[in-house]
Structure formats: structure tokens, C-alpha cells
């Protein structure tokens, strides 16, 4: 059996260097002094924007990690993000007609719930009905991609929702008033949740009993089963967690802007797929996945900023494919990320 020859850290480092090179390769235009421009763009508010961009990608990525670590490959992350985004806006819109009123927190919870329910469907299909996980995941994506605009038209008579309201901006006392770095400390709920979720996820996976069970469930479910732990429940937990995370990511995306856009690939626009690439590059480590997500988001935001500098030619199309090129290169040349051994396989207890 071929063991991966590259450790996580090396993989990450190589990945990071790679992005740097790609970035320079794509962006340099006629040998202009790039660095000065980039430095001019990078500021605390730039990073604040990057964090907002990172939210859906990193949550999808971490959700994907939990599902796949338990042995269920969840390729439907994009679909779950769409469900989360749509439900958040639909819930907030619908709540305004109820006694609850347009309460954004309730809407947020409902969206997470909706995404989790779809994840539950996916879990049932994969775990109890032994569906091929890749196919079922594709189905979840396609269903969400059709359902969200379908329901939008039913509800709002058009694929794009009206504006329903956004998360309030919270400021961390004192820190938000600091000069240079202040903007980093005023953000909306999803960003704060992200900052909490990354270490939380890492801890959950690496320092808790549940994390060990997750790892065992994905590496060698039979060992876990014979140790007296119900593999089925662990796998359900993993997939449901991916639903919760994608719900947060999707709702965070939509409620930051306050509307749902369902035309084309919907407003999620491939962020779930980038999440998938992020956790592969991050080698199933929540911190790695977050860093990869952050890197992609930073690149995207940088591209948008550089465009604003007069005379700067950047093809947003080409910059947009960098994450995908990166993951192909990483998978092919840097050495395979090590998939959990039992990922994609059904497990049936002997009982």
C-alpha cells in the first residue's frame, strides 16, 4: 500500500507557495511593480472582507471534513449551501408575516435546520439505504440547484428574492476602535462563528473522544464497531454536522447580503465546490481547510481590488479558476491527500 510521502504540513506549505507563484504568474502584467500595488490594497478592511468571503467556503470545507472523516463523502456541499442560503432568506421573509416577526436569528436557525434536514436525507440515503455516496451527493446538488430557484419563483414570482434584511454588525469592544486593525473586529455573526468554529472543529476532531470515533469510523469502521461504538450513529453525526456547517455557511452568505439570488448557478456560485478543494488541500485538517479557504478568498478579494487600480488588467475568469487548478496540481504532483480508508464504503454491522 502506498503511504503518502508528504506530511500535512509540507502539503500545506507547498500549496501555499504554489498559490503565491500562480498569483504572481497571473497577475503580473508587463512587469509592473506589482508588490507596491498589492501592498496598497492590503489593509485591515481588506482582511475583514476576506473573512466574509471565507465564511461559506470554510464552513462548507469543515462540514465536508466531518462527513468524509466518518466515511461518508459529501459531494453535495454546494447543494447544502444553496439550501442554507435560500432557506435563510425565505424564512426571514416568511417570518415577517408571523407573530414572530422578521427575526433574523430565528431565520438563521431555521436555515441551519433546513440544511441539516437535507443532510439528514442524504445521511439516510447513504447510510441506511447504502446509496453510492458520489451519486447521492450529486443528486443533492442537482436537487438544490433546481429547487431553490423553483421555490423562489413560487414564493416571490422571480428567481431573485427581494431584500429581507441583514445581520447587524457587532463590534468587539475596545479592539474595534484600534487604529489600523480595528475593522477586523467589527463583523457579523457568521464571521465570529467562523473564528470560533475553526479551533472548535480542530479540537473536536483531535482532542475529544468523538473525534477519535469519527476518525475510526472513516478509517476502520469495524474496529469502532467491535469496540462497542455504533458506527451508524457516528456517521449520521458526521453528515448532520456537515449539514449544520453548510447551513451556517449558506445562511451567512445570504443574510450578509440580505437577499437570495437564484438565477444561474445561484448566489452560491460554486463556493461549495471550492470548499471541497479547500479541505483536500488542507488535508482534512480544519485549520488547513480554513487556511486554504482563506487563501482562495484572499486571492478573489485581491483580484477585485486590483481591478480598481486604474490600468490594471486582470482576467477575473482566469483568477477564478486558480483554486481548481491548484487542487489538480496538488492532487497530481504534491502527493495525494490521504483520504480516510473507508470513505465511500458502506458499513454493515454483523448484528
Amino acid at each position: 500500500m502506498n503511504r503518502p510521502t508528504v506530511t500535512r504540513r509540507q502539503g500545506l506549505a507547498i500549496g501555499a507557495i504554489l498559490f503565491g507563484l500562480l498569483l504572481v504568474g497571473f497577475v503580473i502584467d508587463g512587469g509592473r511593480a506589482l508588490l507596491g500595488d498589492v501592498a496598497g490594497v492590503i489593509s485591515a478592511s481588506y482582511f475583514a472582507a476576506v473573512f466574509r468571503f471565507t465564511v461559506p467556503i470554510a464552513f462548507a470545507a469543515m462540514g465536508g471534513i466531518f462527513a468524509e472523516k466518518t466515511g461518508v463523502i459529501n459531494i453535495g456541499l454546494e447543494g447544502l449551501l444553496i439550501i442554507g442560503a435560500f432557506s435563510a432568506v425565505a424564512a426571514l421573509w416568511g417570518l415577517s408575516a408571523t407573530p414572530v416577526g422578521a427575526n433574523i436569528w430565528v431565520a438563521f436557525l431555521l436555515a441551519v435546520l433546513a440544511s441539516t434536514l437535507v443532510a439528514l436525507l442524504f445521511a439516510t440515503v447513504c447510510i441506511d439505504f447504502k446509496a453510492d455516496q458520489i451519486i447521492a451527493g450529486l443528486a443533492i446538488w442537482l436537487i438544490a440547484l433546481g429547487f431553490a430557484p423553483f421555490a423562489s419563483i413560487i414564493i416571490w414570482d422571480r428567481t431573485n428574492s427581494p431584500s429581507v434584511g441583514t445581520f447587524p454588525v457587532w463590534e468587539v469592544p475596545v479592539l474595534a476602535d484600534l487604529p489600523t486593525v480595528g475593522p477586523l473586529f467589527s463583523a457579523t455573526l457568521p464571521v465570529f462563528l467562523l473564528v470560533l468554529a475553526v479551533p472548535f472543529s480542530w479540537y473536536l476532531l483531535n482532542r475529544t473522544t468523538f473525534g477519535k470515533w469519527v476518525e475510526a469510523s472513516g478509517e476502520d469502521p469495524k474496529s469502532l464497531d467491535t469496540a462497542g461504538v455504533d458506527v451508524r450513529r457516528i456517521r449520521y453525526a458526521g453528515v448532520l454536522l456537515s449539514g449544520v456547517y453548510c447551513g451556517i455557511g449558506g445562511a451567512g452568505l445570504a443574510l450578509n447580503t440580505g437577499q437570495f439570488v437564484g438565477s444561474g448557478d445561484t448566489m452560491v456560485d460554486g463556493r461549495g465546490w471550492i470548499g471541497l478543494t479547500a479541505y483536500l488541500i488542507g488535508n482534512y485538517n480544519p485549520i488547513g481547510a480554513f487556511l486554504a479557504s482563506f487563501l482562495f478568498a484572499a486571492l478573489d478579494a485581491l483580484q477585485l481590488q486590483l481591478q480598481q487600480i486604474a490600468g490594471f488588467e486582470v482576467s477575473s475568469t482566469l483568477v477564478g479558476i486558480i483554486p481548481y487548478v491548484a487542487v489538480v496540481i496538488v492532487l497530481t504532483f504534491v502527493g495525494r491527500t490521504r483520504m480516510p480508508s473507508a470513505a465511500g464504503e458502506h458499513y454493515e454491522s454483523d448484528e
Binding site: S45, Y46, A49, R52, F53, I153, W156, D157, R158, T159, N160, P162, S163, T166, V169, P183, L253, N256, T257, G258, Q259, V261, G262, S263, G264, D265, T266, M267, D269, D300, A301, L304, Q305, Q307, Q308, I309, A310, S316, T317, G320
Partner: protein, 349 residues
């Protein structure tokens, strides 16, 4: 009127059903029947397609015509829809909305020489096609000028206020195509007309349906001191308005009066660059009804024809300083008179 209510009320058979199924109220009626084919954004885009729809609905009530709608999923569907309508004996005229129709219509106009076509936003030179183009750069110049004037002064009303220290106005585009660059060029020229040293950052989201990116671009522009951001980015523009509201700055809408169609943001939408697709559709139908249809014609609609223009947002109509309104009227007149030459590409700036 609600779209489905309309469809149910009009009782039109489907594009396909008309070929096979009966149950149409057109039969025996010699009023004009129009086939409407929209662009891929579809109805409900709160701008381009909805404007066209509005125009045909007005024509319906004013002239007693009937019409059928077709919404292509992809440009690939347009050819077939054109042919379906053109080949349908019950349809007298076909209105094609959007530049994506151009290539297919070239072939179909020749093949269906007896059908009258109306093409909006592109030109097909044929005897049976009436073309409507808009000089979006002229309208964009106007809103750019407005933006430039606003950023140069201290102004506060509604949900925003300008920063008197900064002299910056931004532009957010959808996909980077020639049409949108026309908006951008006119806008920048207008802003510079107010102040030659004004900063005009612009950025393209790369998508028509990514409000998140629109929001981030606009936010960064506001952070960098932009007082006004103008968008020509479809669904992505929703994020621009959101950013304006949270930054307490101003935004400019596009295509229709977005202070009304996106009323949640009326307190920051200081103006919209209106593109009267509704008028174009209405007038083209009127011409056909009156037997004045002129194929081969290119109707180039600019400020002079009221095809484009700056329309002040509903919350700002009564509040904008009179001198601004006067300046705008003056520049409008200057453009009409040819005293100002508005560039339509970035290279001509």
C-alpha cells in the same frame, strides 16, 4: 399584474401547444399578436426583461393587442423560439430582447421574410427587422455627472451622506463585456465632467448573480472614500445597494427606477440610469399597429429620444439641491446639442 395571473388570464397556449393544441382566444380576432422573447436573465430581473414586459403590457392595454412570452434558459433556446413564433400563423410580430438574439435573428429574419421582428440592444440589417439601440453611455454620463457633483459637495439625506473630504465615485460591472464597458465609460466621463481629478475605481464581479461579491466590491470602494457607486451588474447589484446602506453612502441603479423596484434601498438609491426598454417595445408595437413599421431601421435611442436618462430616486426627488438638477439638465442639453461628446469605450476616455 402578477405574471402567472397574466398568463392564466391571457390564456395563451404554449409555444408548443399552439402548434398542436387549441383553446386560444386569438382565433377569429384580427388584433395584433406579438411574440415576446426575453433574454436569459428572464422575467423577474427587476430591470431589463421586466421593463420589456412592462412595455408590452402597456401596449396590450392601450392597443388591445395580445402577446405571448417565451423565456429562454440559454442563448441556445433563442433560435428555436424565434422560429416557433415566426412560423406561427397567429403571431404577427416577434420582439427579441437582448443582444444574444442577434446572431440567430440574422438567419431567421431572412428565412421568415413575412414576419416583422423587433430587436432590442443589437442590430440585424434586414428589411423586416426594426432595431432599437440605446446610447447607455449617455445615460451613464448623466448619472456619473450626478455622482461627481455629489461627491464634490457635502450632502446628506435619506440613508446616506457624502464625505466632503473625498472625491471618489465607483462602478461595479457584472461580466466584463463591451456593453457594460459602455456604461462604465460614460459614467467615468460624466464624473470627470464634474471634476477632472475625481477618482473612479471600477471593478467587475464576473457574474450577474453574485450579490456577495457586488457587496464586497462596493464596500471596499466606500471604505476607500467613494460617495456613490453605480452598478450595471444585474442581480449582483443587490449587494451594491446593501453595501451602500450599511456604509451610509449612495448608490445608483440601472435599467429601471430601482428606487422603486428595489424599494428597500430607496433611501440610498439616489438615482437610476433608466434605459427605456419599455418605451422601445411600446413604440415598436405602436408602429406596427399603426402600420408604420419600418424594417431595416436602426432606432438609436439616447438622451434626446428619452431612451436613456438619469431618473432621480423617489426619496431624493424633492431633496436634491436645485443647482444639481439644473446642472444635470444643462449637461443633458449639451450632450443633445453635441457640445459634449460622450465616449462609448474606455479607450475613448
Amino acid at each position: 399584474m402578477d405574471r402567472r395571473t397574466f398568463l392564466a388570464a391571457a390564456g395563451t397556449g404554449s409555444l408548443i401547444a399552439t402548434a398542436g393544441c387549441a383553446g386560444d382566444d386569438d382565433d377569429g380576432d384580427d388584433s395584433l399578436s406579438v411574440g415576446m422573447i426575453y433574454s436569459t436573465g428572464g422575467l423577474g430581473d427587476e430591470s431589463f426583461n421586466d421593463m420589456a414586459h412592462q412595455g408590452i403590457q402597456e401596449a396590450e392595454s392601450d392597443f388591445g393587442i395580445s402577446f405571448q412570452n417565451a423565456e429562454p434558459d440559454a442563448p441556445a433556446d433563442m433560435d428555436e423560439m424565434q422560429r416557433q413564433f415566426a412560423g406561427d400563423d397567429n403571431i404577427d410580430a416577434v420582439v427579441c430582447i437582448g443582444f444574444d438574439h442577434e446572431a440567430d435573428l440574422e438567419a431567421n429574419a431572412a428565412e421568415f421574410a413575412d414576419t416583422s421582428f423587433v430587436l432590442v440592444d443589437a442590430v440585424v440589417e434586414a428589411d423586416n427587422v426594426a432595431n432599437y439601440l440605446f446610447r447607455e453611455h449617455e445615460g451613464s454620463f448623466q448619472v456619473g455627472y450626478l455622482a461627481g457633483l455629489l461627491t464634490g459637495m457635502e450632502y446628506g439625506h435619506g440613508g446616506g451622506a457624502t464625505d466632503p473630504d473625498e472625491s471618489t465615485v465607483g462602478f461595479v460591472g457584472g461580466e466584463e463585456i463591451a456593453l457594460i464597458e459602455r456604461f462604465e465609460a460614460g459614467y467615468i466621463a460624466g464624473a470627470q465632467h464634474a471634476d477632472a481629478d475625481i477618482e473612479t475605481p471600477s471593478s467587475y464581479a464576473g457574474s450577474w448573480n453574485d450579490p456577495t461579491t457586488g457587496q464586497e466590491i462596493a464596500s471596499s470602494m466606500y471604505d476607500d472614500g467613494a460617495d456613490v457607486v453605480y452598478h450595471a451588474a444585474g442581480g449582483t447589484g443587490g449587494g451594491v445597494f446593501e453595501a451602500a446602506q450599511s456604509a451610509g453612502r449612495y448608490a445608483i441603479g440601472v435599467d429601471d427606477d430601482q428606487s422603486r423596484s428595489a424599494a428597500a434601498f430607496s433611501d440610498v438609491i439616489v438615482a437610476s440610469m433608466i434605459k427605456r426598454v419599455d418605451t422601445a417595445v411600446y413604440e415598436s408595437v405602436e408602429a406596427i399597429v399603426n402600420d408604420e413599421f419600418e424594417g431595416g431601421q436602426i432606432n438609436d435611442l439616447g438622451l434626446e429620444e428619452d431612451g436613456v436618462g438619469a431618473i432621480i430616486g423617489q426619496d431624493f426627488e424633492d431633496d436634491l439641491p436645485a443647482e444639481i438638477v439644473d446642472e444635470l439638465e444643462a449637461s443633458r442639453q449639451a450632450i443633445i446639442d453635441g457640445d459634449i461628446d460622450v465616449p462609448d469605450t474606455l479607450d475613448d476616455l
